[in-house]
Symmetry: C2
Subunit: 219 residues, 2 copies
């Protein structure tokens, strides 16, 4: 079993190593964990003894395959709890990180599988980040512009193309953010604008230009 602190280190190493692809320096990890290089050295030694990281002195550190598994389960829990907080408790997506940071350490595989079911097996968190399954596998989804989505198909916003302030401000105003669920109700042929429903609640019309810049995935 791993302590909260050990889990947080594994998660940080996983992220900083770009999903385990490159090794992480002690200093980079110290900055991420808001601690000193000395503390990081200590902890890496400990994790290495537990065989969850690969480590050689002065050569940086990376997650081992076992460590990657642990990190992915923590990430899975974090993201599922974020979905719960936003979808069920009506938190805004930018308020949930710190709470999920605590909830991710709750130990109970049954709890997580029941939570997953309760949330209807979401594939992305409210920030649009993918949620690994119980085996640590990310669903591969292809992102398409909203203009290419088939009518009456439920999708979820994954990214936006145009990250200019004006566009983001517009999205915020109409209530679209990453993770928002969108369905196309009708296409207005004369100008290509779309009548859509967001989060199964609010209906509105958006221009073809806006729709081209909203990337969605079938959810």
């Amino acid at each position: 079993m791993f302590s909260f602190v050990e889990e947080n280190y594994l998660k940080a190493i996983y992220h900083l190593s770009d999903h385990g692809n490159e090794s992480v320096s002690t200093n980079a990890l110290a900055e991420e964990m808001k601690t000193t290089a000395a503390s990081v050295s200590d902890m890496i030694g400990k994790l290495s003894k537990k065989r969850v990281v690969d480590y050689q002195k002065y050569r940086g550190v990376n997650v081992s395959s076992k460590g990657k598994e642990v990190a992915l389960q923590v990430i899975r829990k974090h993201r599922l709890w974020e979905v719960f907080l936003v979808d069920k408790l009506n938190f805004h997506w930018d308020e949930v990180h710190d709470i999920a940071e605590q909830l991710e350490h709750i130990k109970s595989p049954l709890l997580i599988s029941k939570l997953d079911e309760f949330l209807d097996f979401p594939k992305h968190d409210p920030h649009g980040d993918p949620i690994p399954d119980e085996n640590g596998v990310f669903a591969t989804v292809k992102k398409i512009p909203l203009t290419e989505l088939a009518p009456d198909t439920l999708s979820q916003v994954v990214t936006v193309n145009d990250s200019g302030t004006a566009f983001l401000k517009y999205l915020d105003k109409v209530g679209i953010s990453i993770g928002t669920k969108i369905q196309i109700d009708d296409i207005n042929e004369f100008d290509g604008s779309l009548d859509i429903t967001i989060n199964k609640q609010k209906s509105l019309t958006i221009s073809q230009t806006a729709a081209q810049n909203i990337l969605v995935a079938n959810s």
Copy 2:
């Protein structure tokens, strides 16, 4: 702020002292916490310095008014999470204690107030224990036999009178347990039997004898 361990000690002292009414011996507390008297002595000294317990050497310990507040908030969180686990995630009421024991330490007042709302402001947990409000106050509810409940009023099972095996087995079979929400739909005059709906889902008829032994509170 209090550590998980400190919160657990305060909760244990609150319970063993019968809601703060009598002082608790070091040994009793050691047994409850599954630790040694020496560890308890240490921790009591620490809690005393933080002014959350009243303590004189060799005289036992009790929660101070500040400590009682802390304990009641932890108890509130524990019981709300139990309601969530049973009502929303379909756990059985006897599986939830250990998970709630972890969830009760999550720090976020906003989370708890939103959870409370999401659960529809429950007054009792799935074991029938009352849930203190945000000020640590227990709702005073009067328990009445189901036979005396007004029709179409939502109530919640608090206790049962007849604790014989046969009756408990019957309740289990029809899906009634402590915490179950019950509404009376109709009273059959000729034999006093009741048509009821439980948890806003399932309808059934129970005998007058059974109803007399089910104690409910307006929820």
